[in-house]
Amino acid sequence: MALAPQPTQQGGARTAQTPTVPKGDQKRLLIDLLLTGLIASAIFGPIVGMNATAPQGGLVLEYRWAAVLWLVGIVVVGRLLLHLLVWNRPDWVKPIHIKRLGAGLAGLGLVSLLLGLFVVKAPWFDAAGVFGLIAGAWFYISSSNETAAERGAPSPLANAIEPLGKYVGVALLLIAIALPFIPGVDRRIVDLAILMLTYVMLGWGLNIVVGLAGLLDLGYVAFYAVGAYAYALLSTIYFPLWFGDGITPWAFWLVLPLAGLFAACWGLILGFPVLRLRGDYLAIVTLAFGEIIRLILINWYDFTGGPNGISDVPRPSFFGIPFTNDENGFAATFGLTYSPLQRIIFLYYVILMLALITNFVTMRLRKLPIGRAWEALREDEIACRSLGINTTNTKLTAFAIGAMFGGFAGSFFATRQGFVSPESFVFMESAIILAIVVLGGLGSQIGVVVAAIVVIGAFELFRELNFLKAIMWEGFDPTQYRMLAVGVAMVLIMRWRPRGLVTKRDPSIYLKEKKAVSADLVAQGHG
């Protein structure tokens, strides 16, 4: 049942990766490369090389052998480089050299990318930069031949940065508060920041369930959906029905607590049956619950509007004052000139406040008995129960509180978009939120912020990769590759840094003096 480490694997990652080619054996190396090429052709050959399209109804094959050749070539050359530089390197080349080479390449790549973006504006600079970054990262990753345990330990870089940790948080907060008024910040950036903060909030909410209580929840998006639909339905149909139209400007503020409450109830409802489950089974059942809620939203046409969703969801108001261009509007009331940006900035502060509340509550809860019980549950459920902790209540509160923040975020999402539909709440959304939490480091609050900025920022960056269009083939669209990148990132993080970007964990209880805890000493996801 448990993933028993095998005796053959005692070297950790290195033995797992090292192929059986002895040093200097050209023939074996050639065979290994040939096999690599064969496998790569098997993988890319049919799916990439032969595209089944239906230009005039019937399916026909469109051949793209050049693309296959490129892909297979990249894989084979990459493996050859790994052989020469990493696995069978000459004795005078130490892993640290490769690591530095990787870091150097990545640095050069970054410089080239920035030059290309802002100074020279030549696509080739950008391209060289991106490939430098990728190659550098690859060398850096593949040179780490520590054991699985060492991989979780903080890197020298992290050790250097970590004392600055508390300042990073404060700095980020100050930047976040001042952001809309920094010169040069336009609507697009504020919109992006709103999106990032939404994911920060979702990440923090999920972090309570996964990072603190150790219960892997793959259906978190369900609570996001509950919050969004609660606001959409109440504000468009039921509030006008019960209280008349006058209530609409206040709807968001009235529904917000209700949405949290509904989501928390759903957290309890869905949490209750899965109390006995742990680990993989728990993950799959939560996934099933998430899908059930989405399917019901699609099919319960009379109530939810089905796949069309609900449109004309009321926009938020400044505590009852709408952001409109008339004498009752926000601008006129406060003697400002009207600008559509005012609403965006207000939304930005709303989500910033909601996210900070999430963080504050989580930090406080960690110091309360219930927070300690969560962490105890994550470390060892059986020991936890033996010591008299009520695991039922502990699990249910984790689900409910995590869900509540998901519900808040959902309400915010609905009022920002002005439109909700089941399409926004697919499994991929759960996977992205989970990826953010995992990338940041399960259980780390600041890690979630960093990861959300990286992931959502990277998503946005894919839109800006115009230079790739210039050097790649006709009709190349970088945005198509966003989810692929998320998937690759999830695999790479698990291989390279299973504890996430931020490897430090704050102990929730300590004697006399607070010491940093390496994430490796924290059990994760046994629940």
């Binding site: 448990a2 993933l3 799916i47 595209n51 899965v274 059942v285 399917l295 989810m483 998320v486 291989r495």
Partner: protein, 311 residues
């Protein structure tokens, strides 16, 4: 009655497909204790490759039956080999380096791999569903009754016969492989105690790789059968089919191959009868609810052994 029989046949056909996928889940879970979340997508890749191979060979319904059957066997072989290459690579790249890591690491990596496979297929082959004219038509009438309300006919189509026969043949083959050969012995020993098996000279890594290859080749068979039966595939079919097949694996008792087949049949029948007698819209809800109910109330499955945790 006729309607019931018709649905029964449909259910058994669908159940066979789920069962074939479920075997891959159950074997991998049995041996390394992880859910190969990407397995459903291997099924999708198998279906895609079958479609491409059929197009590349230029098969059409006008060819003679014998020729078509031979060509389909060739397509099957291609799909099995290529899908195996996919699953082998997935294991090599995403799971093997994580053995001995914390418990959820392989699952998260598997979710990542599932996204990668789906997106790979979507980018390379486009997001639209790929429909195709049925290759094999025809079938047999099992029952024909004329009443004043009209004619009642129970038919079994050639494709359904092929699906059921292939499944039975493969089940027999794999059961023999597991129970009779040294490879099967190695697999069973790894399932019981990996460390002890490796001490006794079994190459654990190789055995695990072969398990993935076997699972993938069965998923590829399921992919071809699914494509022949339903005639339309897209990059997303792996997700739902994967979840249902996993339900089947758990229902049958995880780690048990006959259990996986039995579970697959039960899930297939439930899905078909649910759609036939209740509502088509909620058939996936029924499947997901079934998964939750089975995991919560029957985690050891029908043919599995209860799991005892030692402290």
């Amino acid at each position: 009655m006729e309607y019931f029989l018709e649905q029964l046949i449909n259910g058994i056909t669908l159940g066979s497909i789920y069962g074939l996928i479920a075997i891959g889940y159950t074997m991998v879970y049995g041996i390394i204790g992880m859910i190969n979340f990407a397995h459903g997508d291997i099924f999708m890749i198998g279906a895609m490759i079958s479609l491409i191979a059929i197009l590349a060979l230029g098969l059409t319904a006008s060819a003679s039956f014998a020729l078509l059957l031979l060509a389909l066997i060739l397509v099957l072989a291609i799909a099995m080999i290529l899908a195996s290459a996919f699953n082998w690579t997935v294991e090599r790249v995403a799971y093997r380096p994580l053995r001995g890591s914390f418990r959820l690491a392989p699952l998260i990596s598997a979710i990542g791999m599932s996204i990668v496979l789906q997106e790979f297929a979507r980018i390379a082959q486009g997001g639209r569903p790929k429909p195709m004219q049925p290759l094999l038509s025809g079938g047999f009438e099992l029952m024909h009754r004329t009443t004043e309300a009209g004619d009642f006919i129970v038919r079994i189509s050639t494709i359904q016969i092929i699906v059921i026969v292939t499944t039975l043949a493969l089940m027999a083959l794999f059961t023999a492989l597991i129970t009779r050969t040294s490879l099967g012995r190695a697999q069973r020993s790894c399932e019981q105690d990996m460390k002890m098996a490796s001490l006794l000279g079994i190459d654990v890594n190789k055995t695990i790789s072969i398990t993935f290859v076997m699972g993938a080749s069965l998923a590829a068979v399921a992919g071809l059968m699914f494509f022949l039966r339903y005639g339309v595939i897209d990059f997303y079919i792996g997700f739902v089919a994967g979840v249902k097949a996993f339900t089947a694996a758990v229902l049958g008792g995880i780690g048990s191959i006959p259990g996986a087949m039995l579970g697959g049949l039960v899930i297939g029948l439930i899905e078909v009868f649910w759609s036939a007698y209740f509502s088509v819209e909620y058939k996936d809800v029924a499947a997901f609810a079934m998964l939750a109910v089975v995991l919560i109330f029957l985690p050891q499955g029908l043919l599995g052994k209860p799991e005892v945790e030692k402290v």
